[in-house]
Assembly symmetry: C2
Homo-oligomer: 189 residues x 2
């Protein structure tokens, strides 16, 4: 629990009473790699803090084809967030790429935290704003950067990722085919 409290205390101080209510709702979970946390069509019931691991958001295309909507890493929040917020079926799948430890809170418990604590909505706002900023950055990059630039960005921001996970996931995150990414990589070296 230390990680998440540290993380939240970088946002704002939390009194013990509020913290106890919030943390009593958190469930520790462990998943092996390649676990599916949320399926397409399911309503997302949790938002989770990643204590350890890497998580991928996956959009199916044709049979056998898929796109990577996003990655999430240690000390970030993960959820099929659109589905979680709207409580409607998810259009992407949430799956682990590595062994993963989560601290999860359910939708209804989170609503209680919002209602019953002083700082719930403040933290909720700041987390939501942070997730907005990440998403906005990604949109920007998809719109103005070349695939090569997106690859290089990911390479500098997450050098470990490229070593640890299949390149085809990177390709589908960047928005090109694995063959195209292979050509891009060739040209860089």
């Amino acid at each position: 629990m230390k990680n998440i409290r540290d993380y939240i205390e970088t946002i704002t101080k939390v009194n013990d009473e509020d913290w106890n209510l919030f943390s009593s709702k958190l469930h520790k979970k462990r998943f092996p790699k390649k676990s599916i946390l949320t399926k397409i069509g399911e309503v997302e019931n949790y938002i989770s803090f990643i204590e350890e691991g890497v998580v991928r958001l996956v959009i199916p295309k044709n049979d056998e084809d898929e796109m990577t909507f996003g990655f999430s890493f240690q000390n970030e929040f993960i959820s099929a967030y659109d589905s979680f917020l709207t409580q409607t079926p998810s259009i992407y799948q949430v799956e682990t790429l590595t062994e993963t430890r989560l601290l999860s809170i359910s939708y209804s418990d989170l609503q209680k935290v919002y209602e019953q604590t002083q700082i719930g909505n403040l933290i909720g706002r700041l987390v939501s704003e942070g997730l907005y900023l990440l998403k906005s950055k990604r949109t920007y990059s998809l719109l103005v950067d070349t695939a090569e630039q997106r690859y290089l960005n990911l390479f500098t921001e997450r050098p470990n990722l490229i070593k640890e996970i299949p390149l085809k996931y990177i390709a589908s995150y960047i928005g090109v085919t694995p063959q195209s990414l292979s050509r891009i990589r060739k040209q860089i070296t």
Copy 2:
């Protein structure tokens, strides 16, 4: 002021005391079409509710070239939101496409509202979540839809937009050249 109160009351009830504090911070503004509200490199000082008008977020590319990061419409909030949240220089420009009426609140006044009202953070959270959902939808579309699908989506969601603004803006929103969009349109009919 009726529009914005109606809008916010669809999110949550607001008591008069809170409302009076909030609304006392709002500034009415009017801009002719093609006004620049926020320039690249400036720190965004306002978030605004669009009472009337259409606003575009613009990213410069090369000289003479630009991309449309987003559009915003009546009864939506508009800002160089990334810059506003982080209070760092904006990487996109905010400009009006039509004559526009705004209700604006400054960054520092909004912080006061967050501190001094019961429901400030609740509304702030819900507005931020809404903006996240919009951005997420756009990212999804850029990643999985074809340019033709993005055009058709815009066409169904905002039929008036396509009649009222230059097509090259639509093209740069969709992520293709005006020539390509012209060919896409030709093929549809």
